[in-house]
């Protein structure tokens, strides 16, 4: 299924990883030189590129095109959820969170709700999100390594994980930081340049493949086309809206997305950065449907058929496969593979560090060993990183769904737990720790109930699909937080005064 070993793309990947380490070292060098002179990021577009590069994972790079390939119009629920969520984030939270001035989700929850228990809950949620999100990334890595080396998925997954960990360790010990702007530029070029060649090869206008794939969609044979274009061929309107809404509130509640706003100089930069970030993410999302459409067009044109089971397995590799099928130069197909790996590696690095940090500082330090020294905590964090990596590996050997679907479960969890807690924490002074803890616990239960008990109670899957549970979950948890808060004493006065004086004043 994966063919033979592909030397040129493997060399390209090695070069790209080495180059990204070199750029990281150079960036650190520059950052050190600028240290003490108040280093400011150089404008809204640059903040936007950082937001976009932080956002773009294997789900955007590989997963989206796969959903388009399999389910046509349904995939727009993913695209709109993952872009529309930024509107929600900007309008309701970005500025206020920047003014609140806490660096991580657990930090914010503890400061706002004045409770260690709430902090621990949010840390557990952050770790669960890391786990689920990374499983999806691992699947992408496994598939691409299988394609690169022509080996089966499980062995490729082991090899990919080893390379990812080695990269993490080398980057960590060299102290290389990631240059977000270079990273974004690399990813978008790796995505769009091969797409242009694919469009040209298939005889469509190559200049703007984001528009010319329309002709490929309408030229599909009627049977394929109607399933591809028809809005409700693969889902009901309820499922579409539920998924879209879940991804939106999830975007606004994901810890690693929110933390981007703490590192910008001020509130106004945070807000305008979002607009640029949305544009940069849009560049990728305008292009992703084209891969699905061109893959379908190629299959229709050559009369090739892929049996459904294999199509389901290949879907997450469709970006690379489209390049290979249409016969563009191998190095360009390699670029697609390199982009997918870079997106997955950077996401894993960021999330594993966040997850391990949440365990070491928010759970281990607070619950297990409050007298631990900084060095000891660092050791715990490193150990937990390795442990998490292995745990994710164990789950990813049998991936429970498409990359985009697995990622969507992480969004559902964020939307059912952290989104209501952040929203009410910012916009309602009366929300207190009892409400927050009850809300987060019920949010976890709501997210995992359909996953664990869906086979026993089919209605649960129907109304709370694992990928889309936040349409019902987020409002319900919001209500739970409100009711429990009203039944218990209000939060301390200094927290409420801080909200009025600092978070909500011009």
């Amino acid at each position: 299924m994966f063919g033979e070993l592909k030397l040129l793309p493997i060399l390209a990947l090695g070069a790209a990883l080495a180059l990204s380490l070199a750029v990281g070292l150079f960036s650190r060098h520059r950052a050190e030189q600028a240290y003490g002179v108040s280093r400011r990021q150089s404008g809204h577009a640059s903040i936007g590129a950082a937001i976009a590069s932080n956002w773009m994972s294997a789900a955007s790079f590989l997963g989206l095109a796969g959903v388009f390939y399999l389910q046509g119009y349904f995939a727009f629920a993913y695209i709109l959820g993952w872009t529309g969520g930024y509107v929600l984030l900007l309008v309701l939270m970005a500025g206020q969170i920047r003014r609140f001035g806490k660096y991580t989700a657990p930090d914010f929850v503890e400061a706002r709700y004045d409770s260690s228990l709430a902090r621990i809950c949010s840390a557990v949620i952050a770790i669960l999100i890391t786990l689920i999100y990374c499983v999806a990334q691992y699947k992408g890595i496994g598939l691409i390594f299988a394609w690169l080396f022509g080996i089966d998925y499980t062995r490729a997954l082991l090899l990919g994980t080893a390379v990812a960990l080695a990269y993490l360790v080398i980057a960590g010990s060299l102290g290389a930081t990631r240059n977000q702007q270079v990273h974004y530029l690399t990813l978008i070029l790796c995505f769009v340049i091969p797409l242009m060649f694919i469009a040209k090869k298939l005889g469509y206008s190559w200049l703007l493949p984001q528009l010319s794939y329309g002709a490929a969609v309408t030229a599909l044979p009627p049977a394929t086309a109607s399933a591809y274009i028809e809005p409700w061929a693969f889902c009901t309107p309820y499922q579409w809206i539920a998924l879209c809404f879940t991804l939106m509130v999830g975007t606004a509640g994901l810890p690693h997305v929110l933390s981007r706003f703490y590192t910008v100089p001020n509130t106004r930069d945070a807000r305008w950065g979002v607009v640029w970030g949305l544009f940069f993410i849009g560049l990728l999302y305008w292009s992703a449907p084209a891969f699905g459409a061109f893959a379908k067009a190629w299959q229709a044109g050559t009369g090739q058929t892929v049996d459904p089971a294999e199509a389901g397995f290949l879907a997450d590799l469709i970006v690379v496969k489209t390049g290979e099928w249409t016969g563009i130069p191998e190095i360009l197909v390699g670029l697609l593979a390199v982009g997918g790996i870079l997106a997955a590696f950077s996401t894993i690095t960021g999330l594993l560090i966040t997850g391990a940090g949440a365990f070491a500082y928010d759970i281990y330090y607070r619950l297990i060993n409050p007298r631990a020294s900084e060095r000891h905590l660092l050791k715990v964090a490193k150990g937990v990183t390795l442990l998490l990596a292995l745990l994710i590996l164990a789950i990813a050997v049998n991936p429970p769904g498409l990359i985009a679907e697995i990622t969507a479960v992480a969004f559902a969890l964020a939307g059912n737990t952290l989104f209501p807690v952040f929203l009410l924490g910012i916009w309602w002074d009366r929300a207190n720790k009892y409400g927050a803890v009850c809300g987060m616990l019920s949010g976890i239960a709501l997210t995992f109930a359909p996953v664990l008990f869906g086979h026993l109670v089919p209605e649960l899957r129907e109304w709370l699909p694992p990928t889309s549970s936040a349409l019902i979950g987020a409002p319900l948890v919001t209500l739970i937080v409100i009711v429990v808060s009203l039944l218990t004493p209000p939060p301390p006065e200094q927290v409420r005064r801080f909200l009025v004086d600092k978070v909500h004043s011009p």
Partner: protein, 109 residues
């Protein structure tokens, strides 16, 4: 009673409530948020509902850039719409913040 829109609430009032915002800056901010959210929600969720309830809306012969109209609307226009909505929101909030800062400076001096 003469109501001054710029009046700051009394110091003892610690109310922060999205549904009942304090008069002054917060009330205007929340108004802008509601307008933005409406513009965002109508097209995002209104359009699939429109497609669900009016099947004639997706006639295949109406195309734009070679794509069926509804396909183009979801795939390309809505992202542009989100960016526009965000720009409008930022311009309004910039204007609001600036006018309140100026007012506060005038009161200080």
């Amino acid at each position: 009673m003469h109501r001054q829109p710029s009046a700051e609430p009394p110091n003892g009032d610690l109310r922060v409530n999205f549904l009942r915002p304090r008069p002054g800056f917060m009330r205007r901010e929340v108004t802008i948020i509601w307008i933005t959210l409406t513009a965002w929600a109508i097209l995002t969720f209104g359009f699939p509902l429109y497609l669900a309830f009016c099947p004639q809306a997706r006639l295949p012969d109406r195309t734009i850039f070679g794509m069926p109209m509804h396909y183009w609307f979801s795939g390309q226009f809505l992202i542009i719409w989100f960016i526009l909505v965000c720009c409008a929101f930022n311009l309004l909030i910039d204007w609001l913040t600036e006018s309140y800062r100026r007012r506060r400076q005038e009161r200080v001096s």
